[in-house]
Each structure stands twice: as C-alpha cells, then as structure tokens.
C-alpha cells in the first residue's frame, strides 16, 4: 500500500457512502422535529403519524388515493401559448418552465384525472405546488376549464385539490385572465347542477383563492393549511405589525365561516365520496348485510 490508498481512499469512501443514503430517506416533522422514515410517511398519506402534521403530498398520489383502485385516466388539455410575454426576470421564464417540468415530470401545475370514486364517475384536478408554486398561468387555467367542462359533459362531480401561491406573474395579464375564465367554467358546472367540491391544501393564496378555490359548493380544508388572499408577508409589510398565531390557517377560516369543515387527510376520500353521492342523490354503494326488519305499514 502506498500513501494514496491510505490517505485518500477513506475520503472517497465517505463521499460514496453519502450518495448511498439520500437525505430524503428520513423526513423531519416541521412541527416537532421528529424524524420519520419515508416509507412510513408515504404509507400514512404524507401525514406525520405521531404529530398529525400534514406534509405536502405529491400531486399524482392525490389522484391515486382518490380513485377506486388508484385507477384513473388523464384528460387531454388543449395546448396554451408558451411564454406570450417573452418574460425574463433574473432568469428566462422558459428556463424556469423547463426546470419545473424536469423536476415534476408534469407539463404544468394542474393534473387532471377522471375515474371512479366508490363507483361514481368524478373528475378531479390537482394543483402541484412543486410546479412553480402551483401558480396559475394559461396552461393551468386551461386545465381547470377543461376539467370542469369535461365534468359537465360526463355529468360528473368536479373535485379540486387547491395548492397555489397565486397567479403566475411571468404571464402577466394573461395569468390574471384565468380568474374570470375559470369562473366562467364554474358557471357551466352550476347550470348542470353538478357538485363542485374544493379541498384547500397548504398553501392556497392569491388569485387562486380569489377565484375558483373560493367558489366551491362545499369547501374542505386540510388541517393547518395556509389559506388567504394576501400572503402573510405582504400583510405584515402593509400594517407593520406581527400577525396573530393561527392567522389564515384552516381552523381560522372555519371559525370565520369560509370553509365548511377541516378534514384529516385520511378522512378526505370518504368525505368527498359521501358528499358526491348525497348531493347527486345516488344511493350508497357499499353492500351491507342487514337483518330483515318488519316495517309496520300505516293503516289505510
């Protein structure tokens, strides 16, 4: 052995060893600091088992958990113009888009699925916060519109999982126009008397909250989600004081009448299914063995 093997090799080994244990195997609970093994977290729908903290859930997993047998079909969204403003801030918008696509494997911030929820056809849209903060641009707006119109066509309820920092500023006014566009599509759902259920997840703010995310027939919110119009930082800068604890969180919105209920992620599917079935007057699907009951007929 020469000095090279003695001195250098251990360092290389330690480098290799680091690569073998990626740092996302163990996930830290933002609330308690507890470390949770990633498989345990995934098995629990990304909710920390001991603290109940709701971590961000990958958009695709939302659809898999929602639909019977994790089976669903995607819905094709007509292409939208790309980078109409030829926008550039510190970086080119097209580069940011490329990165977001590579990071998420998705075309834009909204995923659509159609499938069965306890044997009832439903259409669902999921906003992917990992794609540029779930921001609402032309492609995302077109996906929401397409999903809603597909629900009308199939006479299916529409379920939205909202997560967004707001409008996609790099698309300027065309991003703002997604607010009335999505609202116009909601009118079609309303006229068809189809349920529009919104699940507000962490975080949902800005133009998304100020349009389709606050226009649901029923609003569910995951525990502790930040939901509001202006972000906390903007408000603090405007009023120059610290915001109260729990401000703009799900429980706060419930108290102030803006959401119908705060629902644990584990109970979301059952709650959504129940609402879809009851609102569309569809009988329950579970086959339950019942004892025959003698019913007294009222006297004629």
């Amino acid at each position: 052995m020469n000095w090279l093997t003695n001195v250098v090799r251990p360092k290389i080994k330690s480098l290799l060893a680091k690569r073998e244990t990626p740092d996302n195997l163990w996930i830290k609970c933002p609330e308690t600091g507890e470390m949770v093994f990633h498989r345990d977290l995934e098995a629990n729908q990304f909710v920390i088992p001991s603290s109940g903290y709701h971590m961000r859930m990958p958009a695709r997993r939302r659809l898999e958990v929602l639909f019977d047998g994790a089976r669903y079909e995607t819905i094709a969204v007509p292409p939208s113009p790309v980078d109409p403003l030829k926008f550039r801030d510190e970086r080119r918008y097209t580069d940011r888009l490329k990165d977001a696509k590579a990071k998420t494997g998705n075309e834009d911030a909204v995923l659509l699925g159609i499938g069965q929820l306890d044997d009832m056809t439903v259409v669902a849209a999921v906003q992917d916060f990992d794609f540029m903060g779930g921001s609402l641009g032309m492609a995302a707006g077109e996906a929401i519109v397409t999903g809603m119109l597909a629900a009308v066509e199939r006479r299916a309820p529409f379920i939205l999982f909202a997560a967004s920092g707001g409008a996609r500023m790099q698309e300027g006014i065309l991003s703002l126009m997604q607010m009335p566009r999505t609202t116009a599509a909601i009118q079609a759902l309303r006229e068809a008397r189809l349920p529009y259920l919104v699940v507000l997840t962490n975080p949902t703010t800005g133009g998304v909250t100020a349009s389709y995310a606050m226009l649901g027939d029923v609003h569910l919110a995951e525990p502790g989600a930040l939901i509001g119009f202006a972000g906390p930082r903007v408000i603090e800068q405007t009023i120059r004081e610290k915001l109260p604890d729990g401000f703009q969180r799900s429980e706060y919105l419930l108290e102030h009448g803006m959401v119908d209920m705060v629902v644990q992620r584990q109970d979301l599917r059952a709650t959504l299914s129940r609402l879809c079935h009851v609102l569309t007057k569809t009988p329950k699907v579970e086959v339950v063995e019942l004892e025959p009951v003698e019913v007294e007929q009222p006297a004629a």
Partner: protein, 317 residues
C-alpha cells in the same frame, strides 16, 4: 398648482417660466411679454409632445397614478344624470373604496360602480386610496344584482392599486368577496362595460372588470401585480419596478394586442389630467358605442357572449 411627474421636468421648467412672466406682466414690471410667452408655450408643447410620444411603461404607470387624474366621482358628475349613490353591503359595513349607484346615462337608466381613490388627504383616507375591503366587493355584487333585476346595464370604472391586504379584510373573506364579485359580473343578464380609467390592479380590478366590453384609457395600466410587487418578488429588489413594468406588458397598447381589452380611448396630450372634460366625454362616447353594439341582445345572449369572450382570451394570440 399643477403637479408634474419627474420625467415632465423640461415641461415643468418652461411652464414655470411662462407663469413667472405672466405674473410680472400683471404687476406691470415687464413690457410686452406676449411674444416671449408665445415662444415658450410653443416650446413647452413641443417638449410635452416629445415626452408623450415615447412613454415607457413605467412612465405610464406614473401617469395612471397621477394625483390630478380624473377619478370615479369626476366621471359620474359629468356623465351621469340623476345619480343616486347607494351604500353598504347589507352584511357588515360600508366601504367607500368602491362607490356605486343608479342614474341616467344619455337618458338611459344605468348602474355605475367603481373604485374611488380620493383627491386630497381626507378623502384619500375615507376611500382607503381606492383599495377595497370585502365589503366593497359585496356592495358591488349587491348593486349588480339589483341592476340585473331591474334590467339596467352596468358601467364599471376601474381604478385601484389592488384589494386591501389587512387582517380585517382576510378575516372577513377578501378572497371570497372578490371571487363572488367576478362571478356576479359573469352572471348578470344585463350588458356591462368596464373602463379602466387609471390603475387596473390585479384581483381587486378583475372583480368588477369582467365585462362584455373592457375599455382602457390610453395611459391606464392593467396588471396581475403592481410593478413594485413583481420587482420585489421576481427580482427581490423593489427598485427594479421599471423592469417589471416593461416586462409584464401592462399598457393599453400591449393589452389590445393580446386581445384582453376591446378598445383604447385616446388621452389628450400630457395625459387625462391636462384636459379631464375631454377625456370624460371621449369615455362617454366609447361607453355609449359599446352599449349600442349590444342593443337588442337577450339576457341569455348577453351572458353567453360574455362567458365565451373570456373563455376565448389567450387561446389564440
């Protein structure tokens, strides 16, 4: 006293000189200044023309926010007869950041709603600088629904930096209020025309600007976020507002190219504040023309056209 914008300095200097000469002449201290005044006036108007021929988006932003620019109350005073202002959202409070009421426009009953920024310190505070809270949008919904029931068309005058970001506003559902107001704009079976007279600031604007026809004054701006806001988020430097204003394409000339608006109303040389009456009259003519183009449409047709117009925005650029 006229307020000048920074880039209008050459004009300000010349017009200042003219003013001084006039004062001297009045006092009898100068002899025959008419010729000199005439010469300076020509120069001032040339300077103004030069500046206004090549305004940058950031300069337009400043013109759109000019303190002397005509506001909601000026338009209503000149265009609407029998104007009867109405107050309150019937739920919580009156919010004077959005004004509204009923009156007659060229003999026809109309509802008018819009942001008012105020024109002096007291009125600016009363109107919260045109930044509405949820109650403002809920009042707008109430007035639109009234207009719908009485089959009266709606004029919206848009002039806001944006909806107010505050604790109370969030507590009472700012986002929901804006969303419902946009929905009301789309729901009503009477024609509506929106005119952006100054700033069209994001959701706070769209809440009353979702109309069958959307018009803009030549130097008004309409944007998803203020240039300062975009600069601090995207460039992490509020001082880059000029770049943000340019890159975000917020001018009337940009927006007509994107087919987001339907018409641009020219402003007099030097901006609306130099000849408010002329601008307001031109706005009145454009609004009348927009309504005339929708005459005889059924309620269903009015709603259908509005909805399809918005769904079509951005599909083909």
């Amino acid at each position: 006293m006229r307020s000048y914008l920074e880039f209008e300095k050459p004009v300000a200097d010349l017009e200042g000189q003219i003013q001084e000469l006039r004062v001297l002449a009045e006092r009898g201290e100068a002899v025959d200044v008419t010729e000199e005044i005439g010469r300076l006036e020509t120069k001032a108007s040339q300077a103004l023309q030069e500046i206004y021929q090549k305004l940058t988006p950031w300069q337009k932003t400043q013109i759109a926010r000019h303190p002397d620019r005509p506001h909601f109350v000026d338009y209503v005073a000149r265009l609407i007869e029998d104007f009867t202002p109405l107050s309150g959202d019937r739920k919580f409070a009156e919010d004077a950041a959005i004004l509204g009421g009923f009156g007659r426009f060229r003999g026809q009953s109309v509802a008018v709603i819009g942001h008012e920024k105020g024109s002096d310190t007291a009125s600016r505070i009363r109107h919260n600088f045109g930044m509405a809270r949820p109650e403002g949008y809920r009042k707008a919904v109430r007035l639109m629904e009234l207009a719908d029931r009485f089959d009266v068309p709606v004029i919206s005058l848009v002039d806001t930096a944006g909806a107010y970001p505050g604790i109370g506003a969030e507590e009472r559902g700012q986002a929901e209020a804006i969303a419902r107001s946009t929905e009301a704009c789309l729901n009503i079976g009477v024609p509506n025309v929106a005119l952006i007279i100054g700033e069209g600031g994001s959701g706070g604007a769209i809440a009353i600007a979702t109309a069958n026809r959307v018009l803009m004054l030549e130097h008004a701006i309409y944007s998803v976020i203020s240039p300062e806001g975009a600069a601090s988020i995207l460039w992490r430097d509020p001082a880059r507002a000029q770049d943000a204003a340019t890159n975000m394409k917020i001018t009337a000339q940009d927006l007509i190219r994107f087919k987001v608006i339907d018409g641009v109303i020219p402003e007099p040389l030097g901006g609306a504040h130099r000849a408010p009456e002329a601008v307001i009259d031109a706005a009145g003519a454009a609004i009348a023309e927009a309504f005339a183009g929708m005459a005889g449409l059924s309620r269903e047709e009015v709603r259908r056209q509005r909805r399809e117009k918005f769904l079509a925005i951005g599909r083909v650029l």
